[in-house]
Symmetry: C2
Amino acid sequence: MNPTNIGIVAGTLTSIAAIPQVIKTLKTRHAKDISIWQPLLLAVGVTLWMVYGILIHDLPLILANITPLACNGILCGLKIYYDRISA
Amino acid sequence: MNPTNIGIVAGTLTSIAAIPQVIKTLKTRHAKDISIWQPLLLAVGVTLWMVYGILIHDLPLILANITPLACNGILCGLKIYYDRISA
């Protein structure tokens, strides 16, 4: 397997990693065990990755961060919402 | 702020993002709300990022993935362990 293909698989896995957590949290409607800091740091971090991608004109870098930004943004909202209604 | 500095901040935030979750899970000894898939996909994904970094001789890429690999590997273990003892 050449380096580019390994990079593509790596990027795909890290991009989709938060999807199962969003699905699980929506199903259980419970997020007490989740630290708000992980989705928050990831949301801010991937936003800066996108800014960096825009500044250096790197389209794959911009595209790869759309899914994690959406997922981690949603997770921050779900964490705050479910903690509040289950408090 | 130049693109390189934005990239460094982005990389630092996404690298350290899983640390608070490891600390929280160790403190609460409870991981029911966490999907095993997120740390598992991230652990495999960042391992492949490191392999990619090694193949293209990119030291920052290798170094940036050490912390997430350690954290997400630990989280997989904690998730399995605490789910088993609290079952």
